[in-house]
Structure formats: C-alpha cells, structure tokens
Symmetry: C2
Subunit: 127 residues, 2 copies
DNA sequence: TCTGAGTTTATATCTAGTCTAAACAGGCAT
DNA sequence: ATGCCTGTTTAGACTAGATATAAACTCAGA
C-alpha cells in the first residue's frame, strides 16, 4: 500500500495502516489510536495524526467528513453547497444547477430522509 | 421568522436572527458571536449556541457541515456515504446505487474538482 | 410588590487536533 | 565500532469549538 511513496515504515505506521485497511466503518482518529494502542501501547496522539495526515497527503486514504466549525445556513430550502479549496468560501448551489440526485425513499435497507451534495473546487476568484 | 415557535424574543436572539438572515456566507458560531457582540457587547458564547441550537431544532436554520471528529476512509474510489441519524453509523454507498450527479467541470464561474453526496436517514437496524 | 419561569452570564469542562522540544533509532561515513 | 545526521516518536502544553453548570438577572402576571 505504501511502497513508493517515500514513507519510512515503522511498527506504529504499519499498525495504523493495517487497522485502516481492515476497517469498514470510517473510524475517527480516536478509534484508530485506541486500536493501535492495543498492539503498541503508548503510541502517541501526534504520531497517529502525523501518519493520517501523511497517508491523506499521499492519497492513500480520504477524510470522509471535514471537521472544523459547524456553519449555519438560514436558507432552509433544498439546495447544495460549493466549497472553494483555496479560500474556503461556501456558496449555495441552486438544485436546478445540479443534475439532481434522484432516488426513492429507500436505498437498499436504508430509509433515506435527506441528502446533501458538497461540491469542491476553486471559486472564480481563486482560479 | 420566529413567531409561533414559542420562542421568547430577546435583543440577543433578535440580533442573532437578523445577522443570520442578512448573511450569505454560512457563518460559524464564532462569526455570529463576533457580529452580535458589535451590537450587544458581552453576549456570551453559550447564549449564541443556545440560540443556534434552538433555531436549528425549530427548522429555521440548517447546519451546513456537521462538526465533530474527522473520519478516515481507506476506500479511495469514488463513492458516497450514508449516515444514520440515530446510531451515527457511516456506510459506503456504491456510486451506481445513486443516480449519479453529473455535471461538467464547470458550474457557472466555479471550477469543479470533486463532489460528495451525503445521504442521511435511518439504517436498517434503527428503523 | 412579589414570585417564578425562562434567559443570560461567567466559569469550568470536554473533545479534537496541533505545536514544540527532547529523546530515540537507524543508516552512513570515518 | 564510533560518531553524526536525518527522521520518528513521545510527552506535554496549547488552541479551537462546543457544552454543562450554577448563579444572577429579567419580566410578565398574581
């Protein structure tokens, strides 16, 4: 998974990678730290974050939901959001501009209540 | 905006609501607190959060991005995510299950680089 | 005026994540 | 083998975002 990315393999990093590869439930950094500490007690928090940020930078893993502060939107009609990678501005996207995601109220076993499309890229100013 | 929701109007709440209504850029709680404090110095952080949570519960505003911990996903192929409202589990949704969002590499003035669909509802166990 | 429900405030606390400095480990030249 | 250099790990301090608690305040209604 990692060869060729210039990463020096260490037991801690191997444990983090193996845990991620075996996981199916999108663990948080905390989950990962707990799991790795069962095999390598005393693996420190910064090591976990260092490794995760590095794997992310190499494109080997993705962040599913960005953390950071919650943002509030007074527009409660259905619409989507565009986030600029550079300046972080968030702009509303009217739904008709997007080829609507359309599916029933069920998705396999799941009862769908709402969905949100987050589009990422560069805004006009940042291009 | 608020009449009929059983909310008692106070200057702080009015300022928060008016600021939100005039905003187009999805402010954070911090942004809101700073803005309200220009009109009502010493409006405390808990008051801002109380009011926001209350407006959210009344459906008058939406949270655009959930805060909380970042989650990591070793699956780097394009796919979407389902989040259960009750148990918070996150499951991968293969893209072919969703009527794909399709649009060009431009959306008006914006350069689109990626997009992510987050579907919310109840998972099988929680229904 | 008094009372009490609801609101605001200050403060403490919690969680997620980053920064810094010191200790440590391994590879390479001498 | 010894010493140096680079990169890694660790502990601990720190920051930001958010919540909990308890005391003080406000104001409508008796």
């Amino acid at each position: 998974m990692v060869d060729g990315y210039g990463l020096k393999m260490t037991p801690q990093r191997r444990a983090i990678i193996e845990f991620l590869q075996s996981s199916v439930d999108h663990p948080t950094a905390e989950d990962i730290m707990n799991a790795v500490n069962e095999r390598f007690p005393m693996t420190s928090r910064p090591t976990v974050y260092n490794t995760l940020n590095w794997l992310k930078g190499s494109g080997l893993i993705n962040e599913v939901f960005e953390g950071g502060a919650v943002r509030y939107d007074p527009n409660t009609s259905p619409h989507h959001h565009f986030v600029c990678r550079r300046c972080r501005v968030v702009q509303d996207i009217e739904p008709e501009l997007v080829d609507a995601v359309s599916f029933g109220t069920r998705l396999g076993d799941k009862k769908v209540e709402s969905f949100q499309v987050t589009i990422r890229g560069l805004c006009q100013k940042c291009q």
